[in-house]
């Protein structure tokens, strides 16, 4: 369970996130949606201990990320698809992280197999395509076989085959009972992948709940309609919370 509780982050006079609260439960793919600059990445960075909130708290199973006893085995995160030393091979990148996290030596080869990168395991990452980097990012997140997975824009740069592959993988991971939070601005793709959504706009919660229920409550036909209803600069924007019936 991911809990964001009254989170605020200010950079000088600019409020990136304002009193944001929501929860993400296990067993479902939750989309974290919002326009560019809405505060999605900042929220995820605070959740993962990479940024410090001005106030509020973000926890995973009730514990702040930096207080988790085995963070890599609890949470797998993919924030950026370019976090690799270009001179290292994929297997060496993963072995280094596995060593640091105290994870089995066999696991790097297993996760490379899961993301279909076994054939490129010994190639330097500098020569990888964007899609291959995206898969390696995913392999990095899966290294500790964590119960909570957090992905920031995982569909960016993927070709149609890659998008379908990613969609199936995310659903399978959620189907195994894991908590899967996926930020995206590709609404059409997100609509086919996520079951729940958290929509934020200008750092504030706009809506959270199952996609179908939110769309029905809003009178919107699609996730895209719902998104634009919630994030347009109209004065009737409101926080909508719909809980699964």
């Amino acid at each position: 369970m991911i809990t964001i509780d009254h989170l605020t982050k200010r950079y000088g006079t600019v409020t990136a996130i304002g009193d944001l609260s929501f929860e993400v439960g296990p067993g479902r793919v939750t989309g974290f949606l919002g326009p560019n600059g809405a505060g999605k990445t900042t929220t995820l960075k605070i959740l993962l201990g990479l940024a410090t909130p001005t106030s509020g708290i973000a926890t995973i199973s009730g514990v702040r990320y930096r207080d988790l006893p085995h963070p890599a085995r609890t949470v797998g995160a993919a924030l950026d698809n370019d976090c690799f030393h270009p001179g290292r091979t994929a297997i060496e990148h993963l072995k280094t992280l596995a060593t640091a996290a105290g994870i089995s030596r066999r696991r790097p080869a297993q996760v490379l197999d899961m993301v279909d990168l076994t054939g490129a395991a010994h190639r330097r990452v500098g020569g990888y395509s964007l899609g291959m980097r995206q898969r390696l990012t995913l392999a990095t997140a899966l290294l500790g076989d964590p119960g909570v997975l957090i992905f920031d824009e995982p569909l960016n740069g993927l070709d149609p085959d890659g998008i379908r592959w990613m969609r199936d993988l995310l659903r399978r991971l959620a189907g195994e009972g894991r908590t899967v939070l996926v930020s995206s601005h590709l609404l059409a793709e997100a609509a086919q992948t996520v079951q729940d959504v958290v929509v934020i706009n200008q750092g504030h919660l706009a809506a959270e709940g199952p996609v179908a229920d939110l769309a029905a409550a809003d009178g919107a036909g699609t996730l895209e309609d719902l998104f634009f209803d919630l994030t347009s600069d109209q004065p009737d924007n409101r926080v909508t919370e719909v809980h699964p019936s």
Binding site: P71, A77, R88, T96, G102
Partner: protein, 251 residues
């Protein structure tokens, strides 16, 4: 404790797996061996001291400065490139307690510093001994062992200083330019000119005491004091770096 051990093993793995350290080691050894060979070849010519004299041998054994420069650059690359390539993000996700991450990086670079300095000075010294033996000269200055130890200590501490600079600037280029600027302009051009009595207490001054036979012989500082001075500089820079790493958001 286990976490620190795992993180340190990961840091050593990075060093061994990357070409940067191996290239740095090769350059360092190559420069040391070539400089000894050149000094031996030019000894006794154009006013240079004759081979076999203490002055000539001292000139050949100025190998510690190579270790210091190599380790300073490797230290900067070790920490600064974590930001350049954004590998700091997965590193901090694995080790959210950032102090442990810095400690492991410093330990890793210190091990690399000892290895590089021992190999560089050792092969440079072996070359010098071979050059002298070829001319039936079998005498080394009494300070050679002190110089060997001083070069290893200085090389290691310069590596730690490099790590600190990389973390402070989060940029390999800025750190290298800043380090060169500090040594050439702040220390050598300004402080040595306006306050020469302070020179021995600065980073390069203390480093020279440990690595330069001429400075060592002058006893401006004892080797133990020079080591302490260099340790204080490294600790101060590392404390600053650690504070920044702990406090800063990761972009």
């Amino acid at each position: 404790m286990t976490a620190i051990v795992n993180l340190t093993r990961a840091e050593l793995r990075k060093l061994v797996a990357s070409r940067t350290f191996l290239i740095g080691l090769a350059l360092s050894v190559g420069l040391a061996v070539i400089s000894v060979a050149v000094d031996a070849a030019t000894a006794g010519k154009n006013g240079a001291a004759a081979l076999g004299t203490t002055a000539s041998t001292n000139q050949m054994l100025k190998l510690g400065s190579v270790c210091c420069v190599a380790m300073l650059v490797l230290g900067i690359l070790g920490s600064g490139s974590e930001y350049r390539h954004k590998t700091i993000i997965p590193a901090m996700l694995v080790a959210p307690r950032r102090g442990a991450l810095v400690a492991a990086k410093v330990t890793g670079i210190a091990v690399a510093g000892v290895a590089l300095s021992v190999v560089t000075f050792g092969l440079g010294l072996a070359t010098a001994v071979a050059e002298l033996s070829a001319r039936h000269l079998h005498h080394l200055p009494a300070d050679t062992a002190t110089l060997f130890a001083g070069s290893v200590i200085a090389g290691t501490l310069f590596g730690v200083i490099g790590v600190a600079l990389g973390y402070i600037t989060r940029s390999t280029i800025a750190a290298i330019v800043g380090a060169i600027g500090w040594v050439l302009f702040a220390e050598l051009a300004i402080l040595h000119t306006i306050a020469p009595h302070l020179a021995k207490w600065l980073v390069t001054g203390a480093g020279s005491t440990l690595t330069d036979p001429g400075v060592l012989a002058s006893r401006a500082l004892t080797p133990a004091t020079a080591t302490a001075v260099l340790c204080v500089w490294a600790a101060a820079l590392l404390a600053t770096a650690t504070g920044l790493v702990l406090r800063r958001d990761v972009a």
